[in-house]
Subunit: 427 residues, 2 copies
C-alpha cells in the first residue's frame, strides 16, 4: 500500500522523503502516460463517490484543523478558506466529476508533415510527467489540482498548508480510493505527509524528479517559490490588471466594465487595479463617481483629483500595487502610446483591456500590449480558465515559456516527435 | 549608433554591461514584435549581401582569430570549427537568406473559441522576447542564431567564444548593416563585446531581461549553463540515442539503419550510441560485423562478445556514455520491455528508434519511449531541424517544458490570449 506508506512515512529527512516520493511519482507517471482516458475518468468519478461517502470523516478532520488554526490565530480570511461544509464538499466532488469529463489532451495530434526526406512526422501530446503543487489553506486544491494533473496523465505531489493537513489527508484518502478502484497506482497522487517546511525546499530543488512546480496561494508563497526553485515554475506573481478607456469608448459600456472589472470580486487576480482614462474620453467624472458609489476608494493623479473631490492622491507606489481590495488607482493619459507605455512600465503581464468602439484602436492595443491576456470591450474579471472554456484551471501563468494565461489540461502536457520511415537512412 | 556603442562599450562591469544590453534588447524586442515579416526578411537579405561584400574583412578577422587560437594551443577540431574560407562564408550568407524565406510564426492563429459567456477568444503567436545565445568556436552561429531569433521577432544577445571574437565582430557588423538597411534597431542583435567570462554568468542570472538562454556547444558549456542559469534554458545535455532491433525487423534494413545511425557522422547528437538487439532478432552477427567493418569499435555484453571475437567488453559506464566517436555499446535484450526499460534507465530523452515490420510493436515502442523524438524504421541521424522540415534549428531540446526536439522559429515564440467582447461584464 504505497498510499498508506506515504501517509505514515518512516522517512524523516525531507530531502530523502521528497526523493522517495519523486521516484515513486516518476514510476506512477510512466503508468499514467499509458492509461486510457476512460480509466482516468473512472478514477475521478470513484474518488467523487468516495468523497461523498466520507463526508462525515472529512468534516471531522476539518473541524480539527479549524480548531487548531483558530488557536494559532489564523486570520478570518484564511479560516474561511480552510473551512468546509457539506455544500463545499459537494462542490469538490462535482469538480472531480467535471474534470473527468474534460477532453483528454494525451495522444492528441498537434500536426504532421512529410519533409523531402520522406519521413512521416507527427507531433503528439504526451504528459509533462510529475507536477508538484505547493498551496496554502484551501483544502479543495488537494482534489482539484490532483485531479487535473492526473487527468492529463501526470503524477502529482501535493504539498498543502500545515493548517489544513488533516483535511487534506482525508480528501487524499478519497483520491487514493478512486485510483485504487480504477486499478491505477496510488502513487499517482501523493500528499507530502509532513508539515516540515524543509519539504517545500526539497521539492523546489527536485529537478529530474519533479518536472514543474505550480504554487497556489498568496504573493509571499509565489515569490518564495520563484526565488528558490531550480525546477520550472508555472505561476503569476501579480495581477496588476489595467483597463484603458479610449476616446472612442461607449461611455455607458466604459462605466459598466470599469465597475465590474474592479468591484465584482476585488480579491481575484483578474481584478482591475489601475484605470487609465484617455484625456479624449468624453466624460470621465461619472465613471469615477460610479466606482466611488460602488464602495471603491479611488486614488488618482492631479487630473483625476480635479474631477471628483473624493479622490485621494495616488503615490508612485500605487501604480505598481496589486490591491486585491476595493481600492483603485486612476490616471488620465495623453493617448494610446501613453496608455500602452504605462502598462508596459507598471503592468504584470496578466490581463489588460481596452474599451473602444474604434476597431483600429482596439487592434493596436491588442497587438501592442504584451500580456498573457488582452481584452477588448470586456471586463478583466473574465480572466479565468473556467470562463475561457477550459473547464478548470491549474493556475494562470504570466511567464513567457511553455504556457501563458489560464492553464488547464493542455498546459500540463508536452509533446513528442514521432518519425516513421521505411528503412530511411540519412545520406 | 547603438551597435557602435555596443562594440566599444565603455561599460566594464559585466553585470552592468549585460543589464544595459538587456534593457536595450527589451526595447528592440518591442519594435521587432510589431515588425512585418517582409521587413525582417529584408534585413536578413541585406545582411547576406553585406556579408558577401565584407568577405575579405571577415576572412582577415578570422585569420587573426585562428593565429591567436593556434598560439593558445586550441585543438585541431576546435580550429576547424573556427576557421572560415570563402565557401563557408557563402554558406553563412545563404543560410541568412534561407531563414528570411521561412514562414513567420508571429501573428499565427493557434486556435479560437467562443465559450458560453460569449467572448470571442483566440490564441495568437507572439515572440518570446529576448533570447540569449551562449556558444563556442563556430562563428557561423553568430549569423544563424541571430537571424533565427530576429525572424521570430526576438531580440538576441550573442555571446560567442573568446577565440572567435574578431570573426564574430566582423559578422555581427554585417548583421547590423542589414538591420540598419531595413530600418530596424541595431540593438535587435547584440554581440557581447567582452571576452570576460563573468559576462556569461551575468547573462545566466538576467531574469526579467533575458527570457530564454540557448547554449550551443559541448557538454561542458551546456552543463555549466544548466547548472547556473536562473533564466529558462533550451538545450540538450546528452544525445545517448538507441536503436532497438525487434524480432520482426527486416535484417537488411536493420543492418543499414544501424550502420547509418552510428557511422554516417559520429560527432552529432543524433548519432546512435547504444544498439539494443532483441534476443529474438534473427541474425545479429552480420549487423555487428558490418559495424566493425565500417570502422566502429564495438563494446558488448557477454552475449554480444560471443557473437564476434572482435567485440570488447562493455563496462557499466558504457551504457551511459555519449561517445560522439566511432564506438558503440551493444546489448542483447530479452524483449520489448527490457529494451524500453534500458532506454528509460540509460537514455537522455533525445532520439530513440525501433526497427520492426510489426506495426503493433512499433506503436508500443513509439508510445512507451519518452524521448523528444521516437522513430520507426529510420536512422536516428535524421534528428535535425533541417531534416524535420523546420528550415533551420536553434537547437534540440530534451527538457519537457515549452519546446521539445528540434526547435526553430515556432519554439522561439509564445502566445497571447485575445478576448473580444461587446461590453461583456462578468455576472
Amino acid at each position: 500500500m504505497g498510499g498508506a506508506m506515504n501517509q505514515h512515512s518512516p522517512i524523516q529527512d525531507p530531502e530523502a522523503l521528497i526523493d522517495d516520493m519523486g521516484r515513486r511519482a516518476r514510476k506512477a507517471a510512466a503508468t499514467l502516460a499509458q492509461t486510457p482516458t476512460a480509466t482516468k475518468a473512472a478514477a475521478l468519478e470513484a474518488a467523487a463517490r468516495a468523497l461523498r461517502a466520507a463526508e462525515q470523516a472529512v468534516l471531522a478532520a476539518n473541524v480539527g484543523d479549524v480548531e487548531r488554526a483558530t488557536q494559532n490565530g489564523l486570520s478570518a480570511a484564511m479560516l474561511d478558506r480552510l473551512k468546509l461544509d457539506p455544500t463545499r464538499i459537494e462542490g469538490v466532488a462535482s469538480a472531480l466529476e467535471a474534470v473527468a469529463r474534460l477532453d483528454d489532451p494525451v495522444g492528441q495530434l498537434i500536426d504532421e508533415s512529410t519533409p523531402p526526406n520522406g519521413l512521416k512526422l507527427s507531433r503528439v501530446r504526451v504528459p509533462l510527467g510529475v507536477v508538484g503543487i505547493i498551496y496554502e489553506s484551501r483544502p479543495n486544491v488537494t482534489a482539484d489540482a490532483g485531479a487535473l494533473c492526473m487527468m492529463a496523465g501526470n503524477a502529482a505531489i501535493l504539498r498543502g498548508g500545515s493548517e489544513a493537513i488533516e483535511t487534506n489527508r482525508a480528501i487524499h484518502e478519497c483520491l487514493m480510493a478512486g485510483l485504487g478502484e480504477a486499478g491505477l497506482p496510488e502513487d499517482a497522487i501523493q500528499l507530502v505527509p509532513t508539515t516540515d517546511r524543509a519539504a517545500v525546499g526539497a521539492m523546489l530543488r527536485a529537478s529530474g524528479l519533479i518536472d514543474i512546480i505550480v504554487p497556489r496561494g498568496g504573493k509571499g508563497l509565489v515569490a518564495r517559490v520563484q526565488e528558490e526553485a531550480r525546477v520550472p515554475v508555472l505561476a503569476h506573481l501579480d495581477g496588476i490588471c489595467h483597463v484603458y478607456l479610449h476616446p472612442a469608448a461607449d461611455p455607458e459600456m466604459a462605466e459598466a466594465i470599469a465597475v465590474n472589472a474592479k468591484m465584482r470580486r476585488t480579491g481575484i487576480c483578474g481584478a482591475m487595479e489601475t484605470l487609465l482614462i484617455d484625456k479624449g474620453f468624453a466624460d470621465p467624472a461619472p465613471v469615477i463617481g460610479a466606482l466611488i458609489e460602488a464602495g471603491c476608494e479611488v486614488r488618482g493623479d492631479a487630473a483625476v483629483q480635479a474631477l471628483d473631490g473624493r479622490v485621494a492622491a495616488a503615490s508612485d507606489e500605487d501604480w505598481d500595487t496589486e490591491y486585491l481590495e476595493p481600492i483603485l488607482s486612476v490616471a488620465i493619459v495623453e493617448d494610446m502610446d501613453a496608455a500602452t507605455g504605462h502598462i508596459a512600465a507598471h503592468g504584470s503581464g496578466h490581463t489588460d483591456a481596452i474599451v473602444t468602439e474604434d476597431a483600429d484602436a482596439a487592434a493596436q492595443f491588442l497587438n501592442r500590449v504584451d500580456s498573457a491576456i488582452v481584452m477588448h470591450n470586456a471586463s478583466t474579471q473574465f480572466a479565468d480558465g473556467g470562463e475561457f472554456g477550459l473547464g478548470a484551471e491549474i493556475g494562470i501563468a504570466t511567464g513567457r515559456l511553455h504556457a501563458r494565461g489560464p492553464v488547464a489540461l493542455e498546459g500540463l502536457t508536452t509533446y513528442k516527435w514521432i518519425a516513421r520511415g521505411d528503412g530511411a537512412i540519412r545520406p
